[in-house]
């Protein structure tokens, strides 16, 4: 299978039900969408993330009822620096979708998804521990992998892979 170029034009992507659903909900919150290698991903405004997830979860046709994963990518020196990545899955339609939120380094925080999926707890703690991104209204935002007194966030790009910090 040869690679086809990614489609990022919202108009062309409208036949995807996820795109139509999110545009009908709040077009201003959808900062961008991409269909690449058979995977659909969105950029969502940071303040609208939780509402976007609720919309996808409660939509009667889509029913994105499961959260697969939360992780983060550090794009230093680009700005905004962090990209928090959410993978949703529907156990009904068996479709996957990816939501991404861009966060600046100075104020790296986003709403926690624990009110929707309790299981976001560990994933968000991991991102907090390894990247230093904060999740507002998280019930227990503590380090999970590293010791409690550890300094720095190991998965940031300015943290060396080996040697002294």
């Amino acid at each position: 299978m040869a690679l086809t170029p990614a489609v990022t034009d919202l108009e062309q992507l409208k036949e995807h039900p996820e795109v139509a659903c999110l545009l009908a909900w709040k077009a201003a919150a959808v900062e961008g969408a991409k269909f690449d290698r058979n995977e659909l991903s969105f950029y969502i405004g940071r303040t609208a993330l939780r509402e976007a997830c609720t919309t996808l979860k409660n939509d009667s046709a889509l029913q994105y009822d499961a959260l697969s994963d939360i992780t983060c990518v550090d794009w230093q020196p680009l700005t905004p620096r962090f990209e928090v990545v959410y993978q949703l899955f529907s156990t009904v339609t068996k479709r996957q979708v990816r939501l991404k939120v861009r966060l600046p380094e100075a104020d790296a925080s986003v709403d926690s998804l624990t009110p929707i999926w309790q299981g976001a707890n560990f994933f968000e703690r991991e991102v907090f521990d390894l990247f230093g991104v904060r999740f507002d209204q998280h019930p227990n935002l503590k380090r999970i992998m590293m010791p409690d007194d550890w300094e720095g966030h190991p998965l940031r790009k300015d943290y060396p892979v080996e040697g002294y910090r």
């Binding site: 990518v73 993978q87 996957q96 999926w117 299981g119």
Partner: protein, 401 residues
Amino acid sequence: MAEMTHTPVLDVAVDQPLVVNMGPQHPSTHGVLRLLLEIDGETVVRMAPDIGYLHTGIEKTCEAKFYQQVVPMTDRIDYLCPMTNNLAYCLAVEKLLGLEIPPRGQWLRVMLNELTRINSHLVWLGTHAMDIGAMTVFLYCFREREQLLRLFEAVSGQRMMTSYFRIGGVAVEPPLDFFNRVKAFNDAFPEKVDEYEGLLTKNPIFVNRLKGVALLSREDALALCATGPTLRASGVDVDLRRDLPYSGYENFKFNVPTSTVGDVYARYLVRVAELRESQKIVQQALEGIPEGSVKADAPKVVLPDREKMKTQMEALIYHFKIVTEGFTVPAGEVYQAVESPRGEMGYYVVSDGTAKPYRVHMRSPSFANLQTLSKMCEGRLIADVVAAIGSIDIVLGDCDR
């Protein structure tokens, strides 16, 4: 005689809950899991899992390696199913590259993945039964596991850290007698499962320890991001092999065992049924394995055969280039999820167009499934905690990465 006086040994109020450490060096925690139990008598009031003892920073290390050098790292994440991790990573990178694997390679991958699932479930069954007190089953399970490890050794040279899959296929064609040996194992296996079930499924001691214990409702399982047998035993019919087929799984016929009960016994039944289904898939893979190459025809990605390297100039050049500078992968991002023995094993790989991955993230099933433990155990007896840990089948290497 002087009146007897009683001095209290401990000066604590008795109505306060007691906090007990379970693990990290506890035989029933299946590795280095530490549980903080707040107990009232024999009842667990609150529970908080504490992990990170096996955190080795594999995700960070991957960023400093060439794409092909990451494969051996993936073995070490979930050390009970190395091939599943290999597969998820290789599929993710192949998706980034737009690379198609020849049918023989795909079928071989499926066959080995199912043998790995049997291997992993056998370790689970043996240790879980031993936690409950059934020693014999452990010995039986490890008897069959030994045969499987020998099969893995035959194919990859390693018993556990196989690293047999490559980006673009598998390392080498398996040895000549390999398929006969798999067939011999596979044909005899259903009887062995009967043997385990004969010892456990209707054993009153075993059943009484498991039935109605550590219940997890369908809603809680979904809210807590549970996947795999833990989710299926709570009544959600999801299996990524069937729902989002990868590596040619759409060519195989198998059932997805589920249960609506959601207790430890239901999870036991689901996994034992999965053993039988995996055996059927291996059977189909053996019968229908196509002829052809096990590697994709992509000289810039796949290492050439040794024979060609000795006779052809281009092959030698490609070999040198791949080994010394790696191969570049077009920029982009993919999330490839596969059904590991424990649940959804997902690899999120981001490429910036160079020969080293910009970011590799593993969504590990043990990490997510561990969150269900508190829900299962709170309000129940300490003895049930041991049964509950066994029933979610965690691997701490997978959990901490």
